[in-house]
């Protein structure tokens, strides 16, 4: 509790002070470690300080760009980049994944110092930082040379209006991962529509089978994607008029989707466990769920968490995401990240070179998809026959990319995210939690999210349409 917290804080503050003092000492590595190659003394604020990289920089005479990222094979990617580049070197630090990193970046933005030159962020966070003018439009720094390497949906996710605030790294085209053995046992085929999904779930339940899926309160991004699939258009936002924003979180499509999932939970067809928790993973490992509505990075995540190994080898398969209207299928996205240049970059042009080039060489891309860590958005990989035809081990040799993920990624049109994504997700989590408990209906939950988010937007100075 507090006393210990205080003690920790004091200790941390003292350590920070001590390391700041230590950093004042002349750098043993010489001037080469200074970012941007300028002669200024090393900035000891942290993010922009190139003297404590996780990787080793061998070409010490080159200017250095600092970089935060959590991608699992980052060491390899950074080394590949540094080896091949004779203009700039990357100094990489992993300051935590997702929220942990954003909190640190937010602090650095507020402090005006301490941010890295280049940062890995999820596409849905770009407007949050852009509106604080913390990111640089990199269109002028070499966009034309690489624009054909990514599809339009990938670019839309990292763009606001005509400006580009990140280089796409990986995406999360959504699909339905399922247990082949469960489907075989209860004699069901992968549902093509959400109506069929519910029927199949009912059939499995009636036969005494496991839960069919899961509605987690802590994954609001999934529900947002599923609402968009039905035709919702949550945010309209034009950076030319940043003070005006359209918020539509309680249209009929959103209400229908929330009612649908709330209904599945109420009927006991799906579980209501928070996802990414040990509890949920244990359930997935033990075959508690017949399906997992998730993104293309999920196999990598699940493998890393110990799913599909040992006895469960070869029990998983993947099918396209069920649709509302099979005549007009809509593909949606969950997650995915980009490399952005921060406004604290000492040399934005050099930083943009890093952002564009960091995850673009064949070796890094191949490593990414062969080890199934991420789903690449670079067309060099997406169009590579070896990638498309890959027999994915997690799916028992199923050609998952060709059958499911690549078509889903190609059909994805991109979307507009809100400049207050964190608030929206928190509001959504709160209401989905109430939905799971049964204290609100899906439609009521949507109305409350709308009211909550509109209130926040107004308070933050927006004119809400």
């Amino acid at each position: 509790m507090s006393m210990k917290t205080k003690r920790l804080l004091v200790t941390a503050a003292m350590l920070a002070a001590a390391s700041a003092l230590a950093a004042c000492a002349p750098d043993a590595g010489g001037g080469a470690n200074t970012a941007g190659g300028s002669a200024a003394p090393a900035d000891n604020a942290g993010g922009n300080n190139a003297s404590n990289c996780t990787n080793t920089i061998s070409k010490k005479d080159l200017p250095v760009v600092t970089f935060w990222g959590w991608y699992p094979n980052m060491q390899l990617v950074v080394d590949n980049f540094n080896k091949q580049n004779n203009e700039v070197q990357v100094c990489w630090t992993n300051v935590g994944q997702g929220g942990d990193e954003y909190d640190k970046f937010q602090t650095a933005i507020s402090a005006g110092t301490g941010a890295p030159d280049v940062i890995m962020i999820e596409a849905d966070r770009i407007p949050t930082f852009q509106i604080q003018k913390a990111l640089v439009d990199i269109k002028q720094y070499g966009y034309d040379a690489v624009k054909d390497n990514y599809g339009p949906g990938a670019w839309k996710d990292v763009s606001i209006g005509g400006a580009v605030y990140g280089v796409p790294v990986d995406g999360g085209p959504m699909a339905m991962i399922y247990r082949k053995d469960v489907f075989d046992k209860y004699k069901i085929t992968p549902p093509k529509t959400w109506a069929e999904y519910e029927q199949a779930a009912q059939k499995v339940k009636d036969a005494g089978g496991p839960l069919f899926g899961d509605l987690g309160a802590n994954v609001p991004a999934v529900l947002m994607a599923l609402q968009i699939q039905k035709g919702a258009n949550p945010f309209t936002y034009d950076p030319a008029k940043p003070e005006t924003i359209g918020v539509k979180l309680n249209d009929q499509a959103s209400k229908d989707v929330l009612d649908y999932w709330g209904g599945l939970a109420k009927k006991g067809l799906v579980g209501t466990q928070d996802q990414f928790t040990p509890e949920y993973i244990a359930g997935v490992v033990n075959g508690k769920y017949a399906t997992y509505i998730s993104a293309a990075w999920a196999p990598g995540y699940l493998t890393g968490a110990g799913v599909g190994k040992g006895e469960d080898t070869g029990k998983w398969a993947v099918a396209p995401l069920p649709q509302w209207d099979p005549a007009n299928p809509v593909q949606v996205n969950w997650g995915g990240s980009a490399f952005s240049v921060t406004n604290q970059a000492k040399n934005p042009e050099l930083a943009a070179k890093v952002a564009y080039g960091l995850y673009a060489d064949d070796e890094s891309l191949t490593d990414g998809w062969t080890n199934q860590i991420i789903f690449p958005l670079n067309l060099k990989a997406l169009n590579d026959p070896k990638f498309v035809d890959l027999k994915v081990a997690f799916f028992d040799g199923q050609q998952a990319n060709k059958e499911v993920y690549v078509p889903a990624a190609n059909a994805y049109k991109g979307m507009t995210y809100a400049p207050f994504g964190q608030y929206y997700f928190d509001a959504m989590t709160k209401q989905v939690s109430a939905l799971i408990e049964g204290s609100v209906t899906g439609a009521q939950a949507a109305d409350r999210v709308q009211e909550d988010v509109v209130g926040y937007a107004k308070e933050q100075g927006f004119t809400v349409q």
Partner: protein, 314 residues
Amino acid sequence: MTLLIEESAASTQKKKAHKVRGKVRLREHLMGWLFVGPFGLVFLAFLIAPLAYALYLSLWQKKLIGGTSFVFLGNYVKAFSDPTFLSGAWFVIRFSLVAIPLQIVLALAMALILDAVTSLFTRFSRLMIFLPYAIPTVIGAVMWGFLYSKSFGPLTDVFGLFGATAPDFFSSNLIFYGLINVVTWQWAGYYMIILYAALQGIDPTLYEAARMDGAGKWQVALRIKIPLIAPALLLILVFSLIGTLQFFNEPQILRYLAAGTISPGFTPNMYAYQQAFGLANFNYGSAISFALGGIVFVCVYAFLFFTRKRRSFF
């Protein structure tokens, strides 16, 4: 004339003496400051300066659109009409009303037992009861998270023996008691040590006198021991009151296991953290922190006011 000269001579002498004495006093002053200095510097740098800065921040408002403006007490007005802040504050107050008496009664009972019984196991028991406090809060919370888990924890098995379903301490109905348990486990041993130390400080002749007067063990405990350690009891009451109102670590850690149940505004401290670091609203975050500080101050002051007769340590 002579008088004047004499007078002035006397006064110069006086002045000289004064100067010498002044020099000594100055040197003493300097020495004093020198000793206090290191603490003073740290105190100023790490307590007063951040507090002052946070107070300054709390008087401003920064919007995503429209920039920063001075709002004076506007953030405080907002905080005390913000349902999230108020429900968080109400939660920690309810939590204090249950958790604090529970911890104190447990700690007191254990201290009295350990003080009365002398056997081989007393030292060992004392250490074991204290042990949870030695485990970092964060690790303790993670550990309890697993113990509560339906897949990993022992609850499912234990309840399964009787054919019952284990309670889900992560559900919104039971999270209150789940957290009470974690906090009691962590802190009761620490309070026990404080009370035990106070009990050890009591002059044993008092017990002898009481026994001669015909007092039994219960009477010794109730009429001698507890009244004499009242200052220590009061001390731990204030500690736990301040600590519980600032509740942060345990729910913040368990949030990763029960994100749906524990919202970012679960306790005021978590809400302040969320506002500052999650939503970039350092101004409102500071205001919430100060508002919480105000609530803590009022509660502690009220508590000390009502127990002022026994106030012997402040």
